[in-house]
Symmetry: C2
Subunit: 502 residues, 2 copies
């Protein structure tokens, strides 16, 4: 009989000193061992004399541990436990797979279809419950969420808990994390985990009136280590160093961002995914740096996806290809049709895209920051796309061409081992051949209406044999470039799926 399941959390709680400032003064770690393996795991102070070490076993069987601390009461504590089979649906943390893609630790492919609710864990508890309720059926498997509350247009309310305690002088004391705030945050990370939703945790962001932006470098570093100690044992954690880090460069210069990455490397024994998200489109972080596991960017110009992907050579997530909505900030008001279009373009050019909703609300309860309910029309189409791809995608999609390739600079197309997709987007050819199979064979060719969410067999026709031309590069030699063609209804926002007949 096992004590916990693989990839769940083993938690060791110890009583120790409550005097002074344990956050600054007491060190605690534990060495977890199984056979020849030893894993050093940092612990943390949870207030009221309670110290915690959390560990997520990544393999089955017996594990032993022994603590070490600057305080004797917390030192040399030993024990053991047995990790059993993972719970149903638990596949472990998500890792990079096949260079440009992701998979869970157990090898199950993971295609990120994320949304954004920056400050949802700082809203009233009822609203938080509603957010989880929405997420339970919306079809997203990742959410971007900040540790700190947000001070921004439509975000003027105070958070449920201060992230750091208010000191005797009425000022926030950035040497005293508020356990209430972190417990609430990790409770929600746990609930997301139970919904199979990855928590893409945003560690810093610029939108602040509480002073979190002005913490010293030392305080920042300690906070990052503390987060890792508290949260790394949650298998669904991703680290996003910042939302829009470039708007913080005046107070946190570039070398400091690099340092945060290193602190995570030092304190997260599981090597959770790590990235950092820009504001200005010209200010992408240098994602080629070795400590960045995958690329996060914000950019509306989604046809460039192959450039970013190839340039960084890592999985690419465009978290903010603008939001569906109607608020006045220019990034927050594209139509649902446009967002769904940008998802298809991004995915079929080898990247991943992020969802967000920013519709005006009488009480400023806007999904993108506070959660609540979804009011738009894109999320269903994104869930449809996810379901569609999960049917066939194994290694991850490889785009058929680069940003300047013919004709995939205009249309978008990608393939995996046994499937190919072509998305025509704003294009509406009445007939099509390019990109269809070169060999005759028993293929299933389906026409997909990305908005109506219909999948119907495409009408096959003989391949187009273009009139040969003297020059020009478009069509040469009067030979078809595939074994057959399809007739299309001649309207935009359609896609083709080609796969071997079952």
């Amino acid at each position: 009989m096992s004590d916990i399941a693989q990839w769940d959390i083993f938690e060791l709680r110890l009583d120790g000193p409550a005097d002074g400032n344990p956050y600054l003064e007491v060190s605690l770690s534990a060495r977890f061992a199984q056979g020849d393996r030893e894993i050093m795991v940092p612990g943390f102070y949870d207030g009221e004399g309670v110290y915690i070490v959390r560990f997520m076993p990544d393999s089955l069987g017996e594990w032993t541990y022994e603590t070490a601390s600057s305080v004797s009461a917390l030192s040399g504590k030993t024990g053991s436990f047995t990790a059993g089979e993972a719970a149903p649906g638990a596949h472990g943390p998500v890792k990079v797979a096949n260079q440009f893609h992701f998979a869970y630790a157990d090898g199950t492919p993971y295609l990120p279809f994320g949304t954004t609710c920056y400050a949802w864990t700082h809203q009233p508890l009822g609203l938080q419950a509603e957010t989880l309720e929405t997420l339970s059926t919306a079809g997203f498997n990742k959410i971007r969420m900040g540790v700190f509350p947000k001070d921004y247009p439509f975000n003027t309310n105070e958070p449920l808990y201060d992230v750091f305690e208010i000191g005797a002088n009425g000022q926030r004391d950035f040497d005293k994390p508020n356990p209430m705030a972190f417990r609430q945050f990790e409770t929600q990370v746990g609930k997301l985990r139970d919904l199979s939703i990855e928590a893409d945790i945003i560690i810093f962001h610029p939108y602040d009136r509480w002073g979190y932006c002005e913490m010293s470098a030392e305080q920042d570093n300690r906070y990052v280590a503390y987060l890792a100690a508290r949260l790394a044992a949650y298998r669904n954690v991703w680290w996003s160093l910042a939302n829009e880090y470039d708007f913080l460069l005046d107070v946190k210069p570039m070398e400091q961002w690099d340092r945060y990455f290193h602190i995570l490397e030092e304190n997260d024994p599981y090597g959770h995914l790590k990235s950092i998200h820009n504001g200005d489109v010209r200010m992408n972080y240098d994602h080629t740096k070795p400590w960045v596991t995958h690329v996060c960017i914000q950019n509306w110009d989604v046809k460039k996806t192959p450039d970013w992907r190839d340039g960084y050579g890592k999985p690419l997530i465009n978290d903010e290809p603008e939001y569906e909505g109607n608020i006045f900030p220019a990034w927050g008001n594209i139509s649902a049709q446009e967002l769904v279009h940008r998802f298809w373009i991004t995915l079929l050019r080898g990247g991943y895209a992020g969802h967000g909703e920013t519709f005006e609300h009488p009480e400023d309860i806007i999904w993108w920051a506070k959660g609540g309910k979804l009011h738009g029309e894109a999320w269903q189409r994104i869930a449809f796309l996810r379901k569609l791809l999960e049917e066939d995608v194994t290694l991850g999609l490889t785009p058929l061409g680069g940003t300047n390739s013919w004709p995939w600079s205009r249309m978008s197309a990608a393939e995996d081992e046994a499937v190919r997709y072509i998305y025509f987007g704003e294009h509406q050819p009445a007939q099509w051949t390019t990109g269809l199979p070169a060999e005759e064979g028993d293929y299933e060719v389906d026409l997909i209406d990305i908005w109506e969410m219909t999948i119907t067999p495409a009408e096959r026709i003989p391949p187009l044999v273009p009139h040969p031309t003297r020059h020009g590069g478009i069509v040469r030699g009067g030979k078809p470039d595939a074994a057959f063609g399809v007739r299309l209804p001649g309207r935009p926002h359609l896609a083709l799926r080609i796969r071997p007949a079952k």
Copy 2:
């Protein structure tokens, strides 16, 4: 009493030798003079012993002329004529104005709204008449058209006339232009002129099965000079050195293209507009070269318009932001909505765009190459945009921001002396303030539906006062950035027009 009107054609016809090959062997020019001005004008051989010199007077009053030739029968012919007031609607040739724009010689602003019918003058006469009939009401004021016929998908028919004569050996003789072909071509240029439509004459293109691509450099040079001699007196002539010159670089290297420009400079006394159009988006000609009057490109990525405009520092025409239609080539099947959208983006980022239609037709009579009838839905909206801009634009539109400016990287906006336009495109804010007048005043603010072609007064609201933020660059200081705002219906493809109340 005048003999001809200003900017019309004075034509001198002379009889001379018909033996040998006058095209190669006989030189002819005339010196036209008025007061201290002297203008050297090349003549040309029109077959059957007839030699012609054409001249377009750009100023009123008496002009004298005297011919010079390598043949005595054509030399020393003198005469005079009087140029009177320009005909109604005749404003002279179009020139560059205000660095990024165009105006007729008499100062009337000219905003190019062109279309493309590459080979319309090579179609049967009935179809040519139909094309002119369509053009007479479609609202275009420029057309791209080739001197040579076109060999291409959907373009397999033989031309009405061979452009060069078939010799005794059954081969085309590129030393013998066919006067019939050129007369037909210039007749149609004249009819376009009478419809106030500029003829953007494409001198070379790669889509050929008749051997026109393989003429020698010497033959090319002679042909360019001949075109200038025949056609430069038509006030509505523009020179486009090529459609997709880069697909011809294997037979016509770059220095040859430069040379063609120089030959036009030497043989076109009026300095008609000159440019050259690329195929591959990475192969723009270096339009900063001094002999290029304006930039012609083909590129679907129209939000980059400010980059190209600023980079070349000249008027920019994106002749092919892809075509409305449904044919299979990837450049020929965007929706009407998308083309209209791209027109608005291009215009409101300081450039000009070109129209084309490529709908499948049972007899392959496709507007883009053969003319005929328009079958699409974009042309009416483009005519609407033209009419709208012509109401107020005087100097030409200056974009409110560059490709990376906030928020005009996402929306598009431009202004002239007494008008400003904002196009929201795929964006659908429910309220808007940015870009509206900074000062309270008596403004007329209209909401434009670019597809429905409606213009209605916009609902004014107090300016938006965003919550101030610690960082972030979007909104600072809690001050509105304009004196008032507008409420919008929250759907895409809308624009605002702001101008002083009449």
